[in-house]
């Protein structure tokens, strides 16, 4: 690709491999096991840090997510790709974001974490990835049938800045209210004292990792949903090769760091209810497909000024709050008390949005 080395086949492999190095290192430096990076979990933790849900074990304003958006924003500005746009069915995209999060929290991870769980030896990830591929495959049927949420249109610079500014604001909050040893809150922010929310790499490490990945992913267009979708829809391996590189490299780094523990039972922040692992990611995969990007990609596009992606991100954060407030999210013990019902509603919403937006030209 002219002028953009990272958008070539080797570029995307390099980016996948870089994430494969960075994520296990984040785990080594303090992030939860097999969760060096998980867009869904980290947005869920942010929702908790802001008090949008009160699940005490998953509250931390994860700097990686802020870094993803701000890194993508910097790269977009630097390479003249900052293009404020929006207005393509925002409310439908908000609901797709919510549905994606509900599905991801039934499985306990987004596609990124599914790959990292696999690289850490968690066999349950196989069910999640199979579900993800199935959901994306259903999405491709809609696309073949003419599915479209309509066109976005150019917006003003300030509109494009909304999500990057939100993330900058959250960073200011994080700096203003740092965690206090033994305290579950600092200023207006909540901090988990135990559980995954209490496992965190140092602020600067997390932020730097987020920024680096934000820049790399914006340039390469790295997308875990797109990898599977393009393989199904176009028999194209481009994005998929980045995912393969991520898994292989993360697996090798995990082996070196002693973080590879193969098996199905007692995997970290995971459960072994195979059907629900599959169905959770199927719903998430369909929602990502219908919205045009995996949760990471939505953050990077939001950094480029894409308001529709920004709305999807906000939907995911509110979806996380709802998932924990209404008992939809799973735990290592299994699905939540209302998880299956929540999943059915989320699937219904995705199918409704898919079926009612088939436009044959």
């Amino acid at each position: 690709m002219k002028g953009n080395v990272l958008a070539t086949r080797w570029g995307i492999v390099l980016v996948g491999a870089s994430i494969g190095v960075i994520a296990p290192l984040l785990q080594k430096l303090g992030n939860p096991a097999n969760m060096g990076i998980c867009v869904a979990c980290m947005e869920r933790d942010i929702a908790g840090a802001l008090g949008l849900h009160r699940a005490g074990v998953v509250q931390y304003l994860r700097p990686e997510i802020l870094g993803f958006v701000l890194g993508a924003f910097l790269a977009a500005v630097l390479f003249k790709e900052f293009r404020p746009r929006g207005g393509s069915a925002p409310v439908a995209r908000f609901f797709l974001g919510m549905c994606a999060m509900i599905g991801a929290l039934v499985f306990l991870g987004c596609p990124w974490r599914a790959l990292l769980r696999l690289a850490g030896g968690d066999g349950n990830a196989i069910l999640g990835l199979a579900g993800l591929a199935t959901g994306i495959w259903i999405g491709t049927l809609f696309f073949r049938g003419g599915y479209s949420l309509g066109r976005s249109s150019p917006q003003s610079k300030s509109v494009g800045l909304m999500i990057p500014l939100l993330m900058a604001g959250l960073l200011v909050l994080r700096l203003a209210y740092p965690p206090v040893e033994g305290q579950a809150a600092s200023g207006i922010l909540f901090y988990s004292l135990q559980g995954p929310g209490a496992a965190r790499a140092p602020l600067l490490v997390s932020l730097a990792a987020g920024l680096i990945i934000g820049v790399l992913a914006q340039r390469s267009r790295f997308c875990t949903m797109g990898g599977i979708r393009d393989l199904i829809l176009f028999r194209q391996l481009h994005l998929f090769s980045g995912m393969v590189a991520l898994v292989v490299v993360a697996w090798v780094v995990n082996l070196i760091l002693g973080q590879f523990h193969p098996g199905f039972e007692k995997q970290p922040v995971a459960h072994s209810q195979h059907l629900w692992n599959f169905c959770g990611m199927m719903v998430a995969g369909l929602a990502f497909a219908l919205a045009g990007g995996c949760p990471g990609r939505q953050l990077f596009m939001a950094g480029e000024g894409d308001n529709d992606a920004g709305v999807f991100v906000l939907g995911m954060i509110i979806g996380a709050a709802i998932a924990h407030d209404f008992g939809l999210a799973s735990s290592p013990q299994g699905v939540g008390p209302n998880g299956i019902a929540g999943l059915a509603v989320a699937m219904g919403i995705c199918l409704f949005i898919g079926l009612t937006n088939l436009r044959r030209s």
Binding site: S148, R221, G226, L233, Q236
Partner: protein, 74 residues
Amino acid sequence: MADKTIDARGLSCPQPVLLVMENMKKLAKGTLEVLVDTDTSRENVSRAARMEGWEVAQEEKTEDGYRMILEKKN
């Protein structure tokens, strides 16, 4: 003059590529003019065109994105 113009501006992934692929298959050979609004779409369309044996004969920046001419002679 292109055989057909495809306006893929404002469409999210994978719609620009789907539209271009459909039209490349329909035409089999000739010239396609494609309008896109993002660099991602420009790269994706170029990649898809090359995969299908078409070449990107022309590419120019416009006020709101890019105008591409895809060509297949035989």
